[in-house]
């Protein structure tokens, strides 16, 4: 049985002549939260989009639970859930009908269970029956996190999960993410927020200019660079 949820080896991704990802390798174990951190344009989102089957691989390989992303993308999509940084929902639907729409792509017998879980994670209370276009940014993000985690994915790929949220909303979402790994879900996330990464991630990889320049447990990295937090580690490594 495959022990790692994600196995990326020498991944290269180009857009025309620009090499956005220049041969990165990392693994994410089952039940682990792995964070990709780096400045804008470092290649974090591109990496996440490749892992989530949205972009094609130019070189190297990506395996999800032993399935090759390049050749078995239809199978891979059964096990993953992707939350893009600036994702939205269908504006003419209510929160509940949006979750129902998503759950319809999964096993019929689990449908009600998924919807219920999505509603619980989103914590929108009676507003779940309001149209999505009436939601605040925080409510929308909670709905989308609910959507991403309700189906018990074996791998959740979260791009800047708390992006643009106020402190309280961000805290709630971090808690939801932390809780979701208890049932074995592996999480691959990217973030600019170093405190968030330090709190959430079991391991992190620092990515800059398409390359992973450092990787390890947050505590080990802080010790290695004699830093008080990951932000300091990041500054020291990038400089």
């Amino acid at each position: 049985m495959e022990s790692s949820a994600v196995k990326v080896e020498n991944l290269i991704k180009r857009f025309g002549k620009t090499e956005a990802v220049k041969g990165i390798s990392f693994t994410v174990s089952k039940g682990e939260i792995f964070g990709l951190i780096g400045p804008n344009g470092a290649g974090k989102t591109t990496t996440l989009r490749v892992v989530s089957t949205l972009l094609q691989i130019d070189d190297g390989s990506v395996d999800i639970l032993g399935y090759d992303v390049a050749n078995q993308s239809d199978t891979v999509r059964k096990f993953i859930s992707y939350l893009p940084e600036d994702a939205g929902a269908y504006k003419n639907l209510t929160g509940r009908s949006y979750l129902t729409f998503i759950s319809n792509f999964f096993k019929a017998e689990k449908k009600q269970e998924f919807i219920q879980k999505g509603i619980e994670i989103a914590q929108l209370k009676e507003r779940i029956d309001d149209r999505v276009d009436t939601y605040s940014k925080g409510m929308m993000r909670r709905l989308l996190v609910g959507r991403a985690l309700m189906t018990d994915p074996q791998l959740a790929i979260l791009d800047e999960p708390t992006s643009g949220l106020d402190v309280l909303n961000a805290q709630e979402i971090r808690k939801i993410i932390k809780d979701s790994v208890k049932n074995g879900t592996a999480i691959l996330l990217s973030s600019h927020n170093m405190l968030e990464v330090e709190y959430l991630c079991d391991r992190i990889a620092l990515i800059s200019k398409g390359l992973i320049i450092e990787e390890g447990k947050p505590k080990d990295l802080m010790k290695k660079y004699n830093a008080v937090n990951i932000e300091e580690v990041f500054t020291k490594v990038v400089k």
């Binding site: 025309g16 999509r77 059964k78 993953i80 939205g88």
Partner: protein, 429 residues
């Protein structure tokens, strides 16, 4: 710069983009060249029509008729016996002529005996477009002159005929040959009139359906991108082909529903007008049968599919709602082009290059089908159905392929190059 000028400059910059100007210029060029291709009406009207003339009459009006015909037309076959009719028609056909005029032996005698003198006209009709019957109007003018000159002569000579015969001495008996069929009692202009009443509504319906449901598909794709729902949709456990087919099928159903509603209205319209009294008195059936309606329905459905798949293809290029609106323009253009062509000209009477272009545009086929079905030209309609089905299948395959690649999210390499060029230009400014 004043505040007003500043705002105007900004608005003009936003509105006058290559994307908005290019289609207008393209349309102007297209319709300009279209006018040249199907035009030449003035020349056609000034030219002497090519006809055949059989004059069986030896009476007092015979020289007058012969003189008018010989002066105002190019007579390629002349005889005085109707036994030469077939030979005459063959010759006229060879010379791309319009009609055979036959004056029976008792023409002058009948008029002088207070009866109308019959003029038999055998028309060789080339096409059923409005402009196709223009040259037959010249022949109609000659026939009017004959009637007028005889009337004048009767009045001048004070012949003892009753007033109605003196004012209208001749009577035309028309027979039209078109698409291997014979229409007794109908002239080409009458047939064109009858067909126009039937075949102008269908293209309008098609245009409306294509524009409405096509716009829906393009907008749907644009909104998926604008509302940031596309990426989520593409990572769900659903095959790309199902996403494409699902989007097309939903819009096709809406389009089909619209088509059915319109077709009901259309068939009611056809039943109520019954193509005018001319068609009824001739005893000729110019209506569509149930089988024709079924073929028309199939053709409409595959055309709708091809339109939607084409819209889906264009929709993959849409970045947002605004760009989606621009992208509907080529579709509107593709619907307008055959609409105008088929309104003015018949497929058989346009230049070969234009024929090829018209056939290549899938939307042309249902627009041309009504005429073909009325004249039982099933080969053309079935060929159209096959072509449009292949077109739709190929386009859907291309869309599915795009959905399977990066291009849907990252754009084509050409689009990226254009974007880089635009950025460079902006920097330069």
């Amino acid at each position: 710069m004043s505040a007003l000028g500043n705002i105007m400059k900004k608005e003009l910059k936003e509105v006058l983009t290559p994307a908005t100007i290019a289609p207008i210029i393209f349309m102007a060029i297209l319709f300009g060249s279209l006018g040249n291709a199907i035009g030449g009406i003035e020349e056609e009207l000034q030219q002497a029509p090519v006809i055949g003339f059989i004059n069986g009459d030896e009476g007092s009006f015979s020289p007058l008729i012969a003189s008018i015909i010989n002066n105002r037309s190019e007579v390629v076959f002349q005889s005085n016996t109707m036994s030469d009719k077939e030979q005459a028609l063959k010759k006229i056909n060879e010379k791309d002529g319009l009609a055979l005029i036959y004056i029976p032996s008792n023409f002058s005698e009948n008029i002088l005996n207070d009866s109308n003198g019959n003029i038999e006209v055998y028309w060789i009709m080339k096409g059923a477009g409005i402009l196709d019957s223009i040259s037959s109007e010249v022949v109609e003018g000659i026939l009017y002159s004959i009637n007028y000159e005889i009337s004048k002569k009767l009045v001048e000579k004070n012949e003892s005929v009753n007033a109605s015969i003196a004012l209208n001495p001749s009577r035309r008996i028309d027979t039209t040959y078109f698409k291997e069929q014979i229409f007794t009692g109908l002239s080409p202009s009458t047939i064109v009139g009858i067909l126009s009443s039937q075949s102008t509504l269908i293209p309008l319906i098609i245009m409306m359906i294509i524009m409405m449901s096509g716009g829906t598909v393009i907008t749907s794709m644009a909104l998926e991108k604008e509302n940031k729902t596309l990426e989520t949709l593409l990572t769900l456990p659903v095959k790309r082909v199902n996403i494409v087919i699902g989007k097309i099928a939903a819009s096709a159903l809406v389009g089909l529903l619209l088509a059915v509603i319109y077709m009901f209205g259309y068939s009611y319209f056809m039943q109520s007008i019954q193509f005018g009294s001319a068609a009824q008195t001739s005893g000729i059936d110019l209506a569509l049968s149930t089988q024709d309606f079924i073929l028309m329905g199939v053709l409409l459905f595959v055309t709708l599919l091809s339109a939607l798949s084409l819209c889906m293809l264009l929709g993959t290029m849409a970045k947002n709602f605004k760009s989606a609106q621009t992208l509907t323009f080529p579709i509107i253009l593709m619907a307008l082009f055959p609409y105008f062509i088929t309104m003015f000209k018949d497929f058989d009477t346009i230049p070969t290059a234009l024929q090829a272009l018209l056939f290549a545009i899938p939307f042309s086929h249902p627009m041309m089908a009504t005429r073909s079905l009325i004249f039982h030209d099933y080969t053309f309609v079935i060929a159209g159905i096959i072509y449009v089905t292949i077109f739709a299948a190929v386009t859907i395959s291309i869309v599915v392929w795009i959905f399977k690649t990066d291009k849907l999210l990252t754009g084509s390499s050409l689009a990226r190059k254009l974007m880089k060029f635009k950025k460079k230009k902006t920097k330069g400014e």
